[in-house]
């Protein structure tokens, strides 16, 4: 029963994950933490860290990871299939009717409206994550420095996480 719920949750997540992996974080939070209580926010952040460090699209990695946590191997299969199924179906339809799709003004109108929402979704995800990740001055300073390094010095995300892990051992 949980497996079916997991599949449906990730089907929803996959169908509405516009604008790349991060935009679906609020939806994952809502489905897995708020509605079903399958994981805690702290676990969720730790999973995100692992997902950032491993190859593969964020959506697939999170689905496999969270699916396994909730329902073992079968859970990981259900979640991963669920998260990619909407993309597959939509792309197949588009590949079939490509020219019509590209010239439709309705499509570009809809996406003019969705773009700022994606930005808002990612911002709310970052605020929710920050609430649990920033526990004292040290973690705030660390966050600020790493934000600077990723945004302006183009430090690779894997390096950022490895660096932060090492710093964590020394300051805590």
């Amino acid at each position: 029963m949980n497996i079916l719920k997991l599949f449906i949750s990730f089907l929803k997540i996959g169908a509405f994950s516009f604008g790349g992996g991060y935009a679906m974080l609020p939806l994952i939070q809502k489905e897995l933490i708020d509605v079903h209580g399958w994981i805690t926010t702290k676990e969720f952040i730790d999973i995100l860290a692992v997902v950032e460090m491993t190859p593969g699209p964020v959506a697939i990695n999170s689905a496999t990871f969270l699916g396994y946590k909730v329902g073992g191997f079968l859970g990981s299969v259900a979640a991963t299939v669920g998260v990619v199924l909407p993309s597959i179906v939509i792309i197949l339809i588009i590949a079939h009717f490509l020219s019509k799709f590209k010239s439709s003004p309705y499509v570009s109108w809809a996406f003019t409206g969705i773009r700022p929402v994606v930005l808002g979704l990612i911002t709310s995800a970052s605020l929710t994550v920050a609430k649990d990740a920033i526990i004292d001055i040290k973690s705030f300073v660390l966050m600020a420095i790493l934000f600077y390094l990723t945004s302006f010095k183009k430090l690779h995300p894997i390096l950022v996480i490895v660096l932060a892990g090492v710093v964590g051992v020394f300051i805590y």
């Binding site: 996959g14 169908a15 604008g19 679906m24 609020p26 809502k30 702290k42 952040i45 730790d46 692992v50 950032e52 190859p55 593969g56 959506a59 990695n61 496999t64 396994y68 990981s76 991963t80 990619v84 909407p86 597959i88 792309i91 197949l92 588009i94 590949a95 490509l98 590209k102 003004p105 499509v107 109108w109 809809a110 409206g113 700022p116 929402v117 930005l119 808002g120 979704l121 990612i122 709310s124 970052s126 605020l127 994550v129 920050a130 990740a133 920033i134 705030f140 660390l142 966050m143 790493l146 934000f147 990723t150 945004s151 995300p157 894997i158 950022v160 932060a164 710093v167 964590g168 051992v169």
Partner: protein
């Protein structure tokens, strides 16, 4: 048969080396699909990126489904997509099965105390970069702020927000068109 295997293998490589997600792997996809195998022309590749931007789901998955369908029909689409997701699936399963249990260890706990702010910084940085590339105007900023407010304070589902915003945007532009 040989084509199917080649498709599978190309996308398996793409899946295995996509680190950090998103646009980091575009050069790799481009090399495999356009330059080495001529499965798509450069123009088609750009079209797919546009489609990937406006459809849900990871770019790698969207591209693999499209290329597979174009080269070998439904079977090709499924095989390419499987190739893309299999590396992630295997690696994540190995991590969760063998390493996740060590999380209770005090040193590992300290590592994660440092890593959590890093995750937070990475997401803030994604917001910053996205905002910069979007050429924000007043309407868009209001849209983004409304979204944040609805998520954090009204507890609205992201699905509802996406639907409302796309429908209202279509209605707005349709009316504008009528007036002209």
């Amino acid at each position: 048969m040989e084509l199917l295997f080649k498709l599978f293998w190309s996308f398996f490589k793409i899946g295995a080396f996509t680190i950090g997600g998103g646009y980091a792997m575009l050069p790799l996809i481009q090399r495999e699909v356009v330059e080495e195998n001529n499965w798509l022309t450069s123009d088609e590749f750009v079209d797919i990126l546009a489609i990937a931007e406006v459809t849900p789901g990871p770019v790698a998955v969207n591209t693999s489904t499209y290329v597979g369908y174009k080269k070998a029909g439904l079977k090709g689409a499924l095989i390419c997509t499987l190739g893309t997701i299999l590396p992630s699936f295997i690696i994540i399963l190995l991590i969760v099965i063998f390493f996740w249990g060590y999380r209770g260890n005090p040193i590992i706990e300290k590592v994660f105390l440092g890593i959590r702010p890093a995750v937070s910084a990475l997401i803030f940085s994604a917001v910053y970069k996205l905002g910069k590339t979007m050429k924000l105007n007043k309407t868009m900023i209001i849209g983004a702020l409304l979204t944040i407010f609805s998520i954090l304070f009204l507890d609205l589902s992201p699905i509802v927000i996406i639907l409302i915003s796309s429908i209202s945007s279509i209605v707005y532009f349709k009316n504008k068109e009528k007036k002209i």
